[in-house]
C-alpha cells in the first residue's frame, strides 16, 4: 500500500513538472499561429509551480530530505542524539501544523470570495497545495521523529501542541514571543528542518501580536505564484537532465582542449560561465541548479579538490548580479528612481572585479595543487568543440529565444528544458525515456520543493519584520549614531549583509532601498554607487548560512550537509567580502566609466 501511494505521489509530481514544460511551449506555438495565446496559460503555469513546490516539499519530508542545519551531528551518538532528533522533529511537526492551519484559513477565505485563476478554475483549488503540503509534512515529521514508538509519540505530541496553540490563540497572544522562539532555536540547533525554524519564528511572532498565522501563508502563496518564478524549476530541470548524461564529460573535453594549458583554466571558465548565466537568468541561485550539476564532476575529474569545487560553484551562483541585464539592478533603479543604464554601466567594473577575484583564486588553486595541464592542440580543440556542439548551442538557444521576441523568460526556460531533453534522449541517447525520466523529474521536484518551502516561509518572516518597521528603526539608529562618511559606509555594509542574510532579494530592494537612498544622499554617496554597494552586499548575503539561498541550493544539488557547504564557501566568501569592501571604498570603480560615458 505505502509503496504504491509513494509511487503515485511521485507520478503526480513528475506529471505536474511535465505539464509545466508543455504549457509554455504550447503557448508559444498557439500564439504564433493564432495570434493569441492559450487563455490563462500564465496563471496556470504559476500555480503548477506552487503544486510542484509543495508536493516536492512533502516528498522531501517523506524521504527525510528536508534541509536542516548540520549542527545536529554535534550531539553525541546514541540515546542523546535520538532524543534530540525526536525533539527537533516534534517542534517542526508542531510548526508545520500551525502552518497547515494557516493555509486552511487562506483557502477558506479565498473560497468565500469566489475568485478564479482562469478558465473557471477557482483560486482556492490552486491554493490547496499549501494545506495538503504542510499537513503531509507535519505527519511525516512526526512519523520520522525516530524508529521507536516513544519518538513517534513525541512527534505526535508536537502536532497536538500545534493544535492547542491554534485552538487557544490566547496562549500566545499579547505575550512575549521569546520563550517560543527559544524552543524553536534549540530545536534548530539539534537538527530541526530550516523551514520550521523560519516559518515557526514567523507564526509565533505574528500570533504573539494577535495576527493570524495565515499571514505567513499569504506571503508564501504570493511568492510561489509570482510570474517570474516558473523559470527557476524549468532551468533546474534542464540542468538535471543535462547532468544525468555525459554532457559534463563532453564539456570537460572542451575546457581541457582550449584552456587546459592555463593553470586553473577549468576553474576560471566555470567562474565566467556562471557569471554570464546568472546575469541572464535574472539572479539568485538558479545557476547552481542549472549548470552546477554539469560543472561539479568536470572540476573533480580535472583534479580540483572536492572542497574547492564545492565552494567555487556555490559562490559562482551569485556572481554576475552586478552585470547587465540582471533583474535586481533593474528593480533597484526603478525603486531608487535612477536611470537603469547608469546602474548597468556602473556595475560593469565591480562585476568584473568580483568574477576576476574568484577566477584568480582558481588559478592559485590550479598552481598549488598542480591539476593536470594539457598542451593546446588545434585538432583536439576543434574535435572537442564538435563533440559538444549540442551542449554548447544551449546558451545560444536561451539567448535567441529571449531576445528574438519569440518567448518570455519563462517560455525560454521551457524551450531550454525541452532542448536538453531532446539532446539527452534523441541525439546522445544518454537518458532512457522509460527508465530514467520519472526518476530525474522526481529528483528535480524534490530539490525545488525543499528550497521553495524555505523561501516561502522566509518571506512570511520578512513580512513580519516589515510590519514592525524594523528596517526603518535600524536606519533611524544609524542616523542618530553615525556622523562620518567612512563609518556610515562600514555600517551600511554590515546592515546590508544582515539584510541579505534575512530577506529575499526582491523584498529587500522594495523595502530597504527607499530607506537608505536619502541616507546615502545625506552622506554624499553617488546614487549609482549606493546601488552597486547594495546589490554587491546582497550577493554576499546569499552565501551566508541560514537563509543564504546559495548554501541551500548547493547543499541539495551536490548532496552535502549545509555546514560542509558553508565551510567550503568560507574562503570564497572572504574573497568576495574583500571585493565588496573595495567596491565600497573605491567609488571610482563604479563612477569612473559613468563619467567617461557622459
Amino acid at each position: 500500500m505505502i509503496p504504491i501511494l509513494s509511487a503515485l505521489e511521485d507520478g503526480i509530481a513528475a506529471l505536474a513538472l511535465a505539464a509545466m514544460v508543455v504549457l509554455p511551449l504550447a503557448e508559444i506555438v498557439v500564439r504564433r499561429i493564432f495570434g493569441v495565446g492559450i487563455p490563462g496559460s500564465g496563471p496556470f503555469v504559476q500555480h503548477l509551480t506552487l503544486w510542484i513546490g509543495f508536493l516536492g516539499a512533502a516528498i522531501a519530508a517523506r524521504d527525510g530530505k528536508l534541509l536542516s542545519l548540520a549542527t545536529g551531528t554535534f550531539v553525541p551518538e546514541g540515546r542523546p542524539r535520538q532524543i534530540a532528533s525526536a525533539f527537533a522533529s516534534a517542534v517542526a511537526a508542531c510548526m508545520s501544523t500551525i502552518l497547515a492551519w494557516g493555509a486552511v484559513q487562506l483557502v477558506r477565505s479565498e473560497r468565500e470570495v469566489g475568485s478564479i485563476i482562469a478558465a473557471g478554475v477557482p483560486t482556492w483549488v490552486g491554493q490547496l497545495a499549501l494545506p495538503i503540503g504542510f499537513t503531509l509534512i507535519a505527519l511525516r515529521l512526526a512519523w520520522r521523529a525516530g524508529t521507536s514508538w516513544f519518538a513517534r509519540a513525541l512527534g505526535a505530541a508536537g502536532i497536538l501542541v500545534g493544535i492547542a496553540l491554534i485552538r487557544y490563540p490566547g496562549l500566545l497572544e499579547n505575550r512575549p514571543a521569546w520563550p517560543g522562539l527559544v524552543v524553536v532555536l534549540v530545536a534548530a540547533a539539534v537538527g530541526a528542518p530550516i523551514f520550521a525554524i523560519l516559518g515557526g519564528a514567523g507564526v509565533l511572532l505574528f500570533m504573539s501580536d494577535g495576527v493570524t498565522p495565515a499571514t505567513v501563508l499569504i506571503e508564501t502563496y504570493s511568492l510561489s505564484v509570482s510570474p517570474t518564478l516558473p523559470a527557476i524549476p524549468l532551468f533546474t530541470l534542464a540542468g538535471f537532465i543535462l547532468a544525468e548524461g555525459h554532457a559534463s564529460t563532453r564539456l570537460l573535453r572542451v575546457f581541457r582542449a582550449w584552456f587546459g594549458w592555463i593553470p586553473g583554466g577549468t576553474a576560471v571558465v566555470c567562474a565566467i560561465l556562471c557569471t554570464f548565466f546568472t546575469a541572464f537568468t535574472g539572479g539568485s541561485g538558479v545557476t547552481i541548479l542549472a549548470v552546477g550539476g554539469v560543472l561539479f564532476p568536470a572540476l573533480l575529474k580535472e583534479g580540483y579538490r572536492d572542497r574547492f569545487s564545492l565552494g567555487l560553484l556555490t559562490t559562482s551562483g551569485s556572481l554576475g548580479l552586478l552585470l547587465p541585464p540582471s533583474l535586481p539592478l533593474i528593480l533597484y533603479a526603478v525603486v531608487a528612481q535612477i536611470p537603469i543604464e547608469d546602474l548597468f554601466i556602473g556595475g560593469i567594473l565591480p562585476g568584473i572585479l568580483l568574477t576576476a577575484m574568484i577566477a584568480a583564486w582558481g588559478v592559485r588553486e590550479g598552481m598549488r595543487f598542480a591539476t593536470t595541464r594539457h598542451p593546446f592542440r588545434t585538432r583536439e580543440a576543434v574535435a572537442s568543440l564538435w563533440a559538444a556542439k549540442w551542449e554548447l548551442a544551449m546558451p545560444l538557444v536561451v539567448v535567441f529565444a529571449m531576445f528574438s521576441g519569440l518567448a518570455t523568460a519563462v517560455e525560454a526556460a521551457a524551450v531550454t528544458a525541452l532542448y536538453a531533453l531532446l539532446i539527452q534522449t534523441v541525439i546522445h541517447r544518454d537518458l532512457s525515456l522509460r527508465r530514467d525520466l520519472v526518476r530525474v523529474f522526481v529528483e528535480c521536484v524534490l530539490v525545488i520543493g525543499g528550497v521553495l518551502v524555505i523561501l516561502g516561509v522566509a518571506v512570511g518572516l520578512t513580512n513580519y519584520l516589515v510590519g514592525v518597521q524594523l528596517p526603518a528603526k535600524l536606519v533611524n539608529w544609524v542616523q542618530a549614531h553615525i556622523e562620518s562618511r567612512l563609518a556610515f559606509l562600514l555600517a551600511l555594509n554590515v546592515f546590508l549583509l544582515v539584510v541579505g542574510w534575512l530577506m529575499e532579494i526582491f523584498a529587500a530592494i522594495v523595502v530597504v532601498v527607499p530607506l537608505i537612498v536619502p541616507l546615502g544622499a545625506a552622506f554624499g554617496i553617488h546614487p549609482v554607487h549606493l546601488g552597486i554597494i547594495f546589490v554587491a552586499n546582497l550577493e554576499l548575503g546569499f552565501l551566508t548560512p541560514l537563509v543564504g539561498i546559495n548554501i541551500f541550493l548547493a547543499s541539495y544539488r551536490f548532496k552535502r550537509p549545509v555546514l560542509e557547504v558553508c565551510r567550503a564557501a568560507l574562503p570564497f566568501m572572504a574573497i568576495l567580502a574583500i571585493g565588496v569592501l573595495v567596491i565600497t571604498y573605491v567609488p571610482w570603480l563604479t563612477t569612473g566609466l559613468l563619467t567617461m560615458f557622459r
Binding site: 509519540a153 502536532i159 493544535i163 485552538r167 517570474t228 526603478v334 518570455t408 523568460a409
Partner: protein
C-alpha cells in the same frame, strides 16, 4: 499500538480542519494601511499626511501606519491580508478595486471619459452605489484617489486605430478577461507581469504600453517608447478602503474626523495630480518624447463602439448604464467641453 498511533494522527488531521480562532478587541484602534503607490510619490506623501492628521485629530485613539511602495505585496495579496485582518486598510488602484467588485471596472472603459471634470462629476454620481457594493464585500469607502490618465506609449508612431491594433499591446498578466476583450476587438494583447515590461519592450515582445505619463517617467519605459499617443484611454481611479471590522471599532466622532481628513486629501490629489502629469509629459518631451494628439471623427466613432462592448462583459450592465446616464447628463450641461478625447 500501531493502530492507536494511527488514530492519534487521524485525530490530529481532523482537528487541523475544524478548529477556528476568536478575536480580541482593544481600546486604541491601530490601522495598518498598505498601498502599491511608489514611496516618495505624490500619493504616498498624501497617505502619510493623512496618517499624521488622523492620529493628531483623534488624540491618538486611532493610529494609521502606512506601508507604501508595495512593501506588503501586490493588491491581491493586500486584499487577502485584509480579509484575514492582518491589514485593516488599503489605498488601491483600479486593479485591486476591480478584483473586489467588477463594478469598479467602469472607470477602465476605454475612451469613456473626456476630462477630469467629467470624471469627477460621474464619480460623485456613482459613489453611493459603489460604496454600497463595497460594503456588501466587507469594506468601507473612505476616499477616492486620482491616479492620472492612461495614454498609449509606442515604439513606432501610431496615428490610426488600425495602426494601434497592429502593435503588440501590453496588458497586465492575471486579468484574462481584459485580454479576451482586447482580442475580440481586433487588438494584439500581450499579457505579462509589470516587471517584464522593460525587457518586453527591449526584445520587441511588446510595442505599445498603455500607462500614465507619471508611471512612464517613473519606470523609465518612455526611453523604449519614444512616442506618446495623447488619446486619454482611461483615467486611473484609486480609492482608500478600510475593513468594516476595523471601521466599526472606531468611535463615531473619530470616523467623522478621519473622513474629513480623507476628503481634504482627495481634493488635493484632484488638484495636484493633473499638474504633476503635465510636468511629467513636459519632462519626457524635453528628453525626446514625441507627443501626438489623437483626434478626428475616425477615433471618435471607433471609440464609442469599443466602449459599448464593455457593457455586461467587463462592467455589470446596471453600473455601465448608470455611468452613461451620469456622463451624458454632464455633457448636456457642459456642451463645450466635449471636443475630442484629450488628456486634460
Amino acid at each position: 499500538m500501531r493502530h492507536v498511533s494511527r488514530s492519534i494522527l487521524a485525530l490530529a488531521v481532523a482537528a487541523l480542519v475544524v478548529v477556528s480562532a476568536d478575536v480580541p478587541s482593544a481600546q486604541t484602534v491601530n490601522i495598518k494601511l498598505a498601498s502599491v503607490v511608489p514611496e516618495g510619490s505624490i500619493w504616498s506623501n498624501s497617505l502619510r499626511q493623512m496618517s499624521t492628521e488622523v492620529s493628531k485629530e483623534t488624540g491618538g485613539r486611532v493610529t494609521l501606519t502606512v506601508f507604501a511602495g508595495g512593501s506588503q505585496g501586490d493588491e491581491s495579496t493586500v486584499l487577502r491580508k485584509m480579509r484575514l485582518d492582518a491589514l485593516q486598510a488599503a489605498a488601491l488602484t483600479g486593479v485591486g478595486l476591480g478584483t473586489i467588485d467588477g463594478a469598479f471596472n467602469v472607470f477602465d472603459v476605454p475612451f469613456f471619459f473626456d476630462s477630469y471634470d467629467e470624471l469627477n462629476a460621474v464619480t460623485a454620481a456613482l459613489t453611493p452605489t459603489l460604496a454600497k457594493r463595497l460594503d456588501a464585500k466587507g469594506f468601507v469607502l473612505v476616499n477616492w484617489g486620482n491616479g492620472g490618465w492612461t495614454q498609449i506609449f509606442t515604439k513606432k508612431p501610431v496615428n490610426t486605430v488600425n495602426e494601434l491594433k497592429k502593435a503588440k499591446l501590453w496588458t497586465s498578466a492575471g486579468n484574462d478577461r481584459m485580454v479576451q476583450w482586447f482580442k475580440s476587438n481586433g487588438f494584439e494583447p500581450r499579457a505579462m507581469a509589470m516587471t517584464d515590461i522593460m525587457t518586453g519592450l527591449t526584445t520587441g515582445m511588446v510595442e505599445a504600453v498603455p500607462t500614465t505619463p507619471i508611471a512612464a517617467l517613473g519606470y523609465q519605459w518612455y526611453k523604449q517608447t519614444p512616442n506618446m499617443l495623447d488619446i486619454g484611454l482611461a483615467p486611473v481611479v484609486g480609492a482608500t478602503i478600510v475593513t468594516k471590522k476595523a471601521w466599526n471599532a472606531i468611535a463615531a466622532e473619530d470616523r467623522q474626523k478621519i473622513l474629513a481628513s480623507a476628503a481634504a486629501v482627495q481634493k488635493q490629489l484632484e488638484d495636484n495630480v493633473p499638474r504633476t502629469e503635465a510636468t511629467a509629459i513636459a519632462e519626457m518631451q524635453r528628453r525626446g518624447l514625441v507627443v501626438t494628439k489623437a483626434s478626428g471623427p475616425e477615433w471618435r466613432k471607433e471609440v464609442d463602439g469599443l466602449a459599448a462592448t464593455m457593457r455586461g462583459e467587463m462592467v455589470p450592465k446596471d453600473m455601465f448604464d448608470l455611468a452613461l446616464k451620469a456622463r451624458d447628463a454632464y455633457r448636456k450641461q457642459h456642451p463645450a467641453a466635449q471636443a475630442a478625447p484629450a488628456a486634460k
